[in-house]
């Protein structure tokens, strides 16, 4: 049953405490698109945590909102200024779309804010024509991790696709015996902004199979075993960018020799 999140806004306190840089915040809210224009992909995404009344700039998320639906925000308070989009910045940040919670489309004008000129992210997949030199050995057992939006198995462009591509380059050079690909799902329920969130158990398998399919295409002939587990717990993994929930929504690619 779909929920209408706008009701939550009426429960918000009128004032918000300033939050420390680096502090982790998470909430569910409707996104607002601020139509700034500094060229392609320069628009701003804003959203307000109803519990604190604080509006945040969540534009840095690798998977951005859909203005029709609520987002599950997980981010850390950044010291970056408000001048780009007009709100304090969460960075790193994730904004998972919750398609069973409708939002009213809301767009506001730039109001003098410039937005951000798009700069290709560091996790930008490598064109085939510019493929880097193969890494040199010695090679030993290693595990790579790819990460996903809440309850999805899609390899997000310029984030998880990059991670898998780089893993494939290393694996191709290493020539291991086999890969064990394990998908995880954060199935233990949590309550955020009054909304109970739990990933579906099936998404663990879907993640494993999607990554395995990708690796089978990138590395023809490689033996790949797929596994999946529910009840995923947070891990300290660099590409999860210090977002605990992000680390739970992962696939492990274990390289065995």
């Amino acid at each position: 049953m779909k929920k209408l999140l706008t009701l939550l806004a009426f429960t918000a306190p009128l004032s918000a405490q300033a939050q420390e840089a680096g502090e982790l915040v998470s909430f569910v809210s409707c996104p607002v698109y601020r139509d700034t224009d500094q060229g392609r992909k320069s628009g701003c995404w804003l959203t307000t945590d109803a519990a604190s009344g604080q509006q945040w700039d969540v534009s840095h998320s690798p998977y951005k909102p859909n203005w029709d639906y609520a987002i599950f925000v997980e981010g850390r308070v950044s010291e970056e200024g408000e001048d780009a989009c007009g709100a304090p910045v969460l960075e790193p940040v994730r904004t998972s779309r919750l398609l069973d919670i409708d939002c009213t489309r809301h767009m506001i004008p730039a109001e003098g804010y410039p937005g951000r000129f798009f700069i290709a992210p560091e996790r930008y997949i490598t064109p085939l024509a510019r493929r880097p030199e193969a890494p040199e050995g010695p090679f030993e057992e290693r595990t790579f991790y790819a990460f996903f939006e809440f309850d999805r198995d899609f390899l997000v462009y310029q984030y998880s696709d990059f991670i898998v591509q780089q893993a494939a380059y290393w694996i191709e050079a290493a020539q291991p015996r086999r890969l064990v690909v394990t998908g995880y799902a954060a199935t233990d329920p949590i309550t955020v902004s009054g909304v109970e969130l739990a990933e579906s158990p099936e998404i663990a398998q879907a993640r494993a199979e999607n990554v395995a399919l990708t690796l089978s295409r990138l590395l023809p002939g490689m033996e790949i075993v797929t596994r999946w587990e529910t009840g995923s717990q947070p891990m300290d993994l660099s590409d999860a960018d210090t977002i605990p929930g992000q680390s739970q929504r992962r696939v492990e690619i274990k390289v065995e020799f």
């Binding site: 698109y33 951005k64 398609l99 490598t126 064109p127 390899l155 310029q158």
Partner: protein
């Protein structure tokens, strides 16, 4: 014959240069109708249409005039004697050859101008108008113009797709949507032989150009950002598949495209021989097509690098954002030097400046895209997000998508598509999750990519195609809904509420006219 063709081509160019270039007021739209007409009067009308089995020589350089200037086709390794060549011979029983729907004068596609001329010249007896797919439906009386109206008016060929969908290798696909026929004006989606219940769905599409194929086969990256998975590989060769050949991506190799076309459009009962296939493939990979001359004169003059020679000599698959900018070929026309200004007419100078502005607009004039499945759904860009034309038309020198280009622009699906009473209308009902933007039920003239994948989320997605040779092959979009280049710009302007000025529209039209 080669010398004859070359002489004719040169004559046509000279006439163009010496003729009256009628320029539009603000941005200089070129009308070469008088030159086009006089060429036809001199017999070029016959020369323009390549009939199967004529045995002509395909020259190394072949020019044809069109309303925007001159299209040039280069054949690497040419000339080619077409006598006995399977691209030019009627290797099936219906009298058609590949060249029937991939005409050199039409940018290796098929313009409605050519279709109509051929109807008039043959009284509808040309194999082009074969009942199977050159008419609105084989059940209609074939001698009547009305039975071929979709081909004559919008350049549409009937395409039969199996229902439920099947993969290229025949394996079944279990669709997550049901399809019913709301309206069947031509009779090819109902009755005992046609329609979903008979296992056959008829849609109507424009022939895609056969030329510049190295770009359409090129793969820029090994992962597909729209599908969130690595690109598939050709099981025979192991190479990555670009996904940019067919409107619905039903096949991804020239090999499979030829088998598909041979068994349908050519009516072949037997599988095309490997020898024929290899010869056709070699020819298709050797053809480079682009407009060579437009309202500003030669497109590789004054520092510009337009035209097919640049296409022939460049590496394919480059993302414009990472390398040579899309339509950077015309950057030199942004600042025309005094020497060029002195030798060009004011109209030619104005046109070149307009083209250069058009290229900038194409790359830099942003607008808000929303609800475009394939773009705004999974990739992470968000819905909406701000883009320019080059966001999707991103391959250097070609303007197709470096990634597999299955995107829903709304051209075939309500409420965004124009209304057509002569096309079948289907109601799609999503059985699981609703479509992210259209909801549970969708009305469409052509489900597009969904007829290949069986996924409701893919309804309306049509593969982006090359932007080269546009001047020679109107109408545009997969269903021929844009009769001219202005209509293409108008559609985008309306669909995404862009608000282009008339000058911006004209600049984009002029740009597209010289590609």
């Amino acid at each position: 014959m080669q010398a004859q063709n070359r002489t004719k081509a040169r004559t046509m160019r000279e006439r163009t240069l010496g003729g009256n270039l009628a320029l539009g007021a603000a941005a200089g739209a070129v009308l070469l109708a008088s030159a086009y007409a006089s060429a036809s009067e001199e017999g070029d009308g016959l020369d323009r249409w390549w009939a199967p089995g004529e045995g002509r020589t395909f020259p190394e350089l072949l020019d044809y005039d069109n309303e925007h200037g001159t299209l040039r086709t280069l054949l690497v390794g040419g000339p080619l004697e077409t006598d006995g060549h399977p691209f030019f011979e009627p290797i099936g029983p219906n009298g058609r050859a590949c060249v029937t729907c991939h005409q050199p004068a039409d940018g290796m596609s098929l313009s409605t101008a050519s279709v109509r001329a051929q109807w008039d010249a043959t009284g509808g007896a040309d194999p082009l108008f074969a009942a199977y797919d050159g008419s609105n439906c084989p059940t209609l009386p074939q001698g009547e113009r009305a039975s071929h109206s979709l081909l004559l008016d919008r350049g549409l060929i009937r395409i039969e797709r199996p229902w439920p969908p099947a993969q290229w290798n025949g394996a079944g696909v279990e669709p997550d949507f049901a399809i019913e026929v709301v309206r069947d004006p031509n009779g090819c989606n109902s009755g005992a032989e046609y329609g979903p219940e008979a296992g056959v769905i008829s849609v109507y599409r424009r022939p895609r150009p056969i030329g510049n194929m190295k770009y359409l086969l090129a793969v820029g990256f090994d992962l597909d950002p729209k599908q969130g998975v690595a690109l598939p590989r050709d099981p025979e060769t192991g190479v990555y598949l670009s996904g940019n050949l067919m409107a619905d991506n039903r096949v991804s190799t020239l090999r499979d495209q030829m088998f598909d076309a041979g068994s349908t459009h050519l009516g072949m009962l037997d599988r095309m021989s490997d020898e024929d296939r290899h010869r056709i493939e070699a020819f298709e990979l050797s053809i480079f097509v682009a407009q060579q001359r437009g309202g500003g004169g030669e497109v590789d003059d004054g520092g510009a690098t337009g035209g097919p020679a640049t296409l022939r000599d460049s590496e394919p698959g480059e993302l414009g954002a990472l390398g040579f900018p899309v339509w950077g070929e015309f950057a030199a026309w942004e600042e025309i030097d005094e020497e060029d200004r002195a030798r060009l007419t004011p109209e030619e100078v104005a046109f070149r400046e307009s083209v250069a502005r058009g290229a900038r607009i194409f790359r830099e004039r942003t607008f808000l895209v929303s609800d475009a499945a394939g773009l705004t759904t999974q990739m992470g860009f968000g819905n909406p997000f701000r883009v320019a034309c080059k966001m999707c038309h991103n391959m250097t020198r070609m303007g197709n998508d470096v990634a597999p280009g299955q995107v829903d622009l709304g051209t075939t699906t309500l409420p965004f598509a124009d209304h057509f009473d002569d096309l079948p209308l289907f109601r799609i009902t999503c059985l699981n999750d609703p479509h992210p933007y259209y909801g549970r039920q969708i009305l469409t003239y052509d489900p597009g990519f969904a007829l290949t994948t069986g996924r409701c989320a893919d309804v309306g997605k049509i593969t982006l195609q090359s932007m080269r040779g546009l001047a020679a092959r109107a109408p545009y979009f997969s269903n021929g809904s844009a009769q001219d280049l202005h209509a293409v710009v108008d559609y985008y302007d309306r669909r995404y509420n862009i608000g282009y000025s008339e000058q911006e529209k004209q600049d984009l039209v002029n740009l597209m006219s010289v590609l």
